[in-house]
């Protein structure tokens, strides 16, 4: 029995280090290759020994697909391809291919230069890894090999984020990566056609949340930033360099413009300008409105937002700073946070999801005394605000996507077990679709029953189609033919053609039955009586009386002969071929009952 097998190596009942193995029709595909922000040990990368204990990665995997450039989806890629060893193709979209190596290099620098980790991947490894990447267009059907094909759909999570359909013959799996079902200020909404996959693997970060309207959240955000700045406070917004940062920059830029505000807005890291440049060059990946107006005004050229210098953090007076990374787990955002945390006039706004173990997660869960390195305790007096701007689909959005794609079953990844449980029930009850949520290392097996494509000869098909047009729809029409199987070539042809192709002669099997009939009249008259009787009974059939005195019903021949001994009896010879057996046998039983009395 063919089946689809799915094993998460990461992101199974968890957010972080997304990495999902899919086996479909004998092909093995790895979806994403991420790192975990919450760990600094072995657990930060997926456990590839799950594959390697049975052989080399390249032999096992037919391809690797990366959904978008966030490190929890691609952070383990150089480790996977260069250190564990994988030489097959890696597929991602063009913007992902452009941005991914920059974030990897950033990540490497923090790990090696700042934390002094040894045995980490090198810059050269990132370059070598990126050489194995094949860029894909949206909606392009990429033929990985003769049987396996993949296709990318717009996911709207970050620039270049895509969902992927993986297809072999009539079996298919869709992997959503991270996606957003509502368009925001810079990206459009995720979209997929009714592709009816056997399985939809969807993220479920916000499995239990139904978010209010985007407008309200934006107004709320602006109000909070405005209030803090008005009272002379400093506002820290930890972000990732690409993604939410651009959305919030557009938001603040237009607000500052409209309200004529003077407090400075800064954007940390040298990546800013570069990041904005990517948005300008890949503007076809942003939303409709930005694309339409980019010739007149490029939304990614900011007037009010300037580059941040470390020294600015100590400047007096209000300011707004966007700083990376987004979960306050390292780098500049954490430094600024430590500086500003003690003042209750200040404010930190977390615009996205924070992984367990990060400072971001701790302060969001209400912790106000943080133990820092060297036993230092940091007291957080500043205002802590959470604002969901991260571009994940909420429960409503996930249900919407499932409805769009119409999968046979759904599998949840990239979420917390408890929340998944809730969504699983919702999907099973409301959509009546079976739903799975495997933990890491746990395998889900789904039997599939793919239909078998064969070539049918047009002659045979047309013959049947013509019959199918008859008004009698209740009786199903049977198509009869012969399936010729030669190597992997399957053809369905008419039996006559099959015989001819194989050089075989037809063997005709014919039956002739003698039916005795009491009738003293002449043979010709008997035949005529038989004719009129059959004609009246078999209204739908072609009954003919031939000049030689015989009667035919379709291709069945009936002749009347005298009985050699009894002149009062006539013998009807009913003759038919094996192919007309039903009708022939019916006719003999009908005639055996005798003929109705002739009107004399």
């Amino acid at each position: 029995m063919p089946e689809i097998r799915v094993t998460p190596l990461g992101a199974g009942q968890d957010v972080g280090r997304s990495c999902i193995l899919v086996s479909i029709a004998g092909k093995n595909v790895m979806l994403d290759c991420g790192m975990h922000m919450g760990f600094n040990d072995d657990r930060r990368f997926p456990d590839f020994s799950y594959i390697t204990r049975n052989g080399r990665l390249t032999d096992f995997l037919d391809c690797v697909i990366i959904s978008h450039f966030h490190l929890d989806h691609c952070g383990a890629l150089p480790y996977f391809s260069e250190m564990v060893g994988y030489d097959g193709p890696i597929y991602m979209t063009h913007p992902t291919q452009a941005i991914c190596p920059i974030l990897l290099e950033d990540y490497r620098k923090i790990a090696v230069d700042k934390k002094g980790e040894a045995n980490f991947f090198t810059s050269q490894m990132i370059k070598d890894c990126m050489k194995k990447v094949v860029a894909v267009h949206l909606h392009q059907t990429v033929q990985v090999d003769d049987e396996l094909e993949i296709k990318a759909y717009y996911a709207g999570h970050v620039l270049g984020a895509a969902m992927f359909q993986i297809k072999v013959g009539s079996e298919s799996v869709v992997y959503t990566g991270d996606y957003n079902m509502t368009p925001d200020r810079h990206l459009g909404a995720a979209w997929i056609d009714k592709c009816r996959p056997n399985l939809l693997i969807t993220e479920s970060t916000y499995a239990t949340t139904i978010r209010d309207s985007k407008r309200c959240r934006e107004r709320d955000f602006l109000k909070k930033v405005h209030e803090a700045v008005e009272r002379g406070g400093k506002v820290l917004i930890p972000v990732f360099a690409l993604g939410r940062a651009q959305e919030l920059c557009i938001l603040l830029e237009t607000f500052w413009e409209r309200m004529n505000l003077k407090a400075p807005i800064y954007f940390s890291t040298g990546l800013t300008e570069k990041a904005n440049h990517y948005y300008k060059l890949f503007i076809t990946w942003t939303n409709q409105k930005i694309r339409k107006t980019f010739v007149q005004r490029n939304m990614f050229e900011f007037k009010h937002i300037k580059a941040f210098d470390r020294a600015f953090a100590d400047n007096p007076g209000p300011m707004v700073v966007f700083a990376t990374p987004g979960m306050l787990h390292a780098g500049q955002s954490l430094q600024i946070f430590r500086k500003w945390a003690g003042n209750e006039k200040n404010m930190v706004i977390m615009p996205g999801y924070c992984v367990q173990g990060t400072v971001g997660h701790k302060i969001l869960s209400g912790q106000r005394k943080l133990e820092m390195e060297g036993r230092q305790v940091l007291e957080v007096k500043m205002q802590v605000e959470y604002m969901s701007f991260s571009a994940h689909a909420d429960a409503k959005g996930i249900m919407q996507l499932v409805g769009q794609a119409e999968p046979e079953s759904v599998l949840l990844v990239h979420g917390e077990a408890k929340k998944m449980e809730f969504l699983k029930q919702k999907i099973e009850q409301e959509l009546r679709v079976s739903c799975y949520m495997p933990a890491n290392g746990e395998t889900v097996t789904l039997p599939t029953s793919p239909s078998i494509p064969v070539g049918v000869s047009l002659g045979l098909l047309k013959r049947e189609m013509a019959q199918g047009l008859l008004p009698d729809a209740k009786k199903p029409r049977l198509l009869h033919g012969t399936l010729i199987m030669k190597d992997s070539n399957f053809r369905l042809v008419s039996s006559e053609q099959a015989l001819k192709e194989l050089g075989l002669a037809e063997h005709q099997l014919r039956f002739t039955c003698r039916v005795h009939l009491h009738d003293p009249r002449k043979e010709q008259e008997t035949a005529l009586r038989v004719y009129s009787h059959l004609k009246s009974v078999l209204k739908d059939h072609c009954v003919q009386h031939l000049p030689d005195g015989s009667v035919t019903v379709e291709s069945i021949l009936i002749q009347a002969a005298a009985h050699s001994e009894d002149p009062g009896t006539k013998v009807l010879l009913v003759s038919w071929t094996y192919q007309d057996e039903e009708l022939g046998s019916y006719l003999t039983s009908l005639l055996k009952k005798g003929l109705p009395q002739a009107p004399s």
């Binding site: 063009h94 452009a98 267009h137 949206l138 909606h139 392009q140 059907t141 990429v142 009539s170 440049h277 060059l281 076809t284 010739v295 029953s449 239909s451 078998i452 494509p453 064969v454 070539g455 049918v456 047009l458 098909l461 049947e464 189609m465 009786k475 199903p476 029409r477 049977l478 198509l479 009869h480 012969t482 399936l483 010729i484 199987m485 030669k486 053809r491 369905l492 039996s495 099959a498 015989l499 194989l502 075989l504 002669a505 037809e506 063997h507 005709q508 099997l509 014919r510 039956f511 002739t512 039955c513 003698r514 059939h541 379709e554 007309d580 057996e581 039903e582 009708l583 046998s585 019916y586």
Partner: protein, 658 residues
């Protein structure tokens, strides 16, 4: 399968393909060479043009002198310029299901088709094709609408009068169907019917046909198309290039195994080498400027101009032209330059790599930043105050009949210091210049056409091996001006089928197979038997379901369980449906074994007689006779159904069913 040929222009094709149950229009080219018969539309009143003498017939009758003007021995129509549309009468265009566009030059007739023929289908094109196509249309509409012309000549179109006119007017085809330019409103409505597609995207049409655009290497977003079903494949090649310019390279491999390859859009200047022409362009430009003259380059606002600017970017410093201003004047100049930078995914590998850095893929960004290249929507406004001479001006339209180029021709034509360099291959430069004669300025002809030449075509055809090639008739003979050049035509086996405007071609296609899906339940129930080594057969009796042009075979319904005597009786009385097919039989019956089998099943008193062709087996007791021959068996018995069925089953044991 038929091909309806609606355009006679080989590089601006418009064909309709009927394939299975679909009607597919391939491209929508607009033949603009018709405008060469018209007087130019000057931006400002031109005393020279308005004082041209009217033309009169040989007999002196001058009733046409309002419509026709004479200039240096050529006659021009003094009217709003008109275009030669694709045929609209050959086929009912409202029956067209989809239109496939291959590049932005081949969609210029779209508004005429989508807005005025009852067309209700979908148009498919790539994003760069649509965006740049929109710019080309916008420019065209703008050029024509900003110089309203009161006069619309129609007298000359009268067939009896047209005969009397000098050539080329006399020979112009279908003049009665020539139309004025569309409006922006029509353009917007036409473009709204386009659905964007990406290379190698498989698009299903009604479940019957799949169409796929492939990179063709000629322009940003330019494509060839594959139109296929499961067993037939048509490739449509239109405007392809194997040269390394800015677009993504041509995808040749996917064209393999075509039953029919429709080949259009080859180079219009097969004897000119594009690289050499670019070199000549640069040197002539430098020469003129050094001598204090101005250079005019009539061009489209997108396409080759990007490559020319890139060449100049590398050339100007070494040629000492750094201080010469370059002007690009078009209502869509800014948009075209901006758009060129955002289609990273549609560019050649080198340019893609630049975007990854991230840097703009085209160096004209730097030319603009350093003020070496300036662009203006028209020569009114800012341009007039910035204008410095000597300079280089890129502007449209290449036909020299409308657009800002008309003004520069009038302005610079009188001085031999100036040069006009023709790079666009779509118009004969001599004809384009005719209404400006006599002309003192130098004219250089450097046509740059990167589309396939005949050597490349023959290599391509050898590579992809189509069964049949279909092409415009112009490609099956050498060009009229070079009739001895037998190398300037398509050479393939079997010879290419050619078409001309308003012809219907039956394509050499025999469809034999169609895809059908066998449901797994049915497949499990099939019993294959090996007939010859490697070949297995299985008889299939199944229910055929057809929906949306997809065929599925399902297991036959189980025969109704006979339950209860009454029902059974009725069942036996039911007249059987003679269309329930029984399998065919094959094989032969070995008499001795057959007799043994009969005996084993309780028949006695068996007698066998030899006949000329076989044997007769007599079952005397049962008064039954069985004739056995090589290819037939005939059972003759009394009306004893039980006996007949028993004998039948014994016979069938020796035969194979099909």
């Amino acid at each position: 399968m038929e091909l309806y040929c609606l355009s006679g222009h080989p590089t601006l094709p418009c064909n309709v393909l009927k394939f299975k149950s679909t009607t597919i229009m391939l491209d929508c080219g607009l033949d603009m060479t018709s405008t060469l018969n018209f007087l130019p539309l000057p931006l400002v009143q031109s005393p020279r043009l308005s004082n041209l003498p009217g033309w009169s017939l040989k007999d002196g009758s001058a009733f046409l002198d309002k419509e026709l003007k004479e200039c240096s021995g050529h006659v021009f129509v003094d009217s709003v310029p008109e275009f030669c549309l694709p045929e609209t009468e050959l086929i009912d265009l409202s029956t067209v299901d989809v239109i496939l566009i291959s590049n932005y030059h081949c969609m210029m007739a779209l508004p005429y088709i989508t807005e005025h023929t009852g067309f209700t289908g979908t148009v498919y094109a790539t994003e760069p094709t649509v965006q740049i196509g929109r710019l080309l249309m916008e420019e065209l509409v703008n050029f024509i609408e900003r110089v309203p012309k009161a006069q619309s000549a129609s007298l000359w179109k009268n067939k009896d009068i047209q005969r009397l006119l000098p050539s080329p007017l006399k020979d112009a085809v279908e003049v009665s169907t020539w139309r004025r330019c569309y409006t922006m409103q029509e353009v917007n409505s036409a473009l709204s019917k386009i659905q964007l597609v990406g290379y190698s995207q498989k698009i299903e049409l009604f479940g019957a046909v799949q169409v796929t655009p492939l990179s063709s290497g000629y322009a940003l977003g330019s494509s060839n198309w594959i139109i296929q079903s499961h067993y037939e494949k048509v490739s449509y090649v239109s405007g392809s290039s194997l040269l390394t310019t800015h677009p993504q390279p041509m995808d040749q491999a996917s064209l393999k195994n075509s039953d029919v390859l429709i080949l259009t859009g080859l180079t219009q200047i097969p004897t000119a080498n594009p690289d050499g022409m670019v070199g000549e362009f640069c040197s002539n430009l430098a020469l003129t400027v050094r001598n204090g003259g101005n250079v005019l380059v009539p061009c489209y606002p997108s396409g080759v101009i990007y490559d020319l600017l890139e060449c100049l970017y590398q050339y100007i410093d070494s040629a000492g032209l750094s201080n010469i201003p370059f002007y690009f004047i078009s209502p869509v100049a800014n948009s075209s330059l901006e758009f060129s930078q955002i289609f990273a995914e549609w560019l050649c590998h080198n340019k893609q790599t630049k975007v990854y850095l991230p840097e703009p893929p085209f160096p004209h960004a730097e030319l603009i930043q350093t003020n070496k290249l300036k662009h203006y929507p028209s020569l009114h406004g800012d341009f007039s105050s910035d204008f410095r001479q000597p300079c280089v001006v890129f502007t449209g339209h290449p036909s020299l009949r409308f657009g800002d180029v008309v003004h520069f021709m009038e302005l610079w034509g009188k001085s031999s210091l100036n040069t006009v360099i023709f790079t666009e291959p779509d118009f004969s430069y001599l004809e384009a210049l005719a209404p400006y004669q006599p002309l003192a300025m130098k004219c250089i002809y450097c046509p740059i056409d990167t589309r396939l030449n005949f050597i490349q075509v023959s290599k391509l055809l050898k590579e992809v091996q189509p069964l049949h090639v279909v092409c415009p008739e112009q490609y099956t003979q050498p060009p009229p001006a070079q009739s001895h050049r037998m190398d300037l035509m398509i050479d393939c086996q079997p010879p290419a089928m050619s078409y001309r405007r308003a012809e219907v071609l039956a394509l050499p296609f025999k469809r034999r197979y169609e895809k059908i899906e066998i449901m797994p339940e049915l497949a499990d129930a099939l019993v294959p038997m090996e007939i010859k080594p490697g070949i297995s057969l299985a008889t299939v009796s199944a229910v055929l379901h057809t929906k949306d042009n997809k065929h599925v075979l399902q297991p036959p319904p189980r025969p109704a369980q006979p339950s209860g005597g009454k029902k059974r009786k009725r069942a036996s009385e039911d007249i059987p449906d003679c269309k329930v097919l029984k399998p065919l039989l094959s094989g032969s019956i070995p008499v001795e074994q057959f007799v043994q089998t009969l005996e084993k099943h309780g028949f006695s008193d068996i007698k066998v007689e030899d006949t000329a062709k076989g044997h007769i087996v007599l079952l005397q007791e049962a008064e039954t006779l069985i004739q056995i021959e090589e290819d037939s068996t005939h059972i003759i018995c009394d009306n004893d159904e039980m006996l007949r069925v028993r004998l039948r089953d014994l016979v069938l044991k020796f035969l194979q069913k099909f």
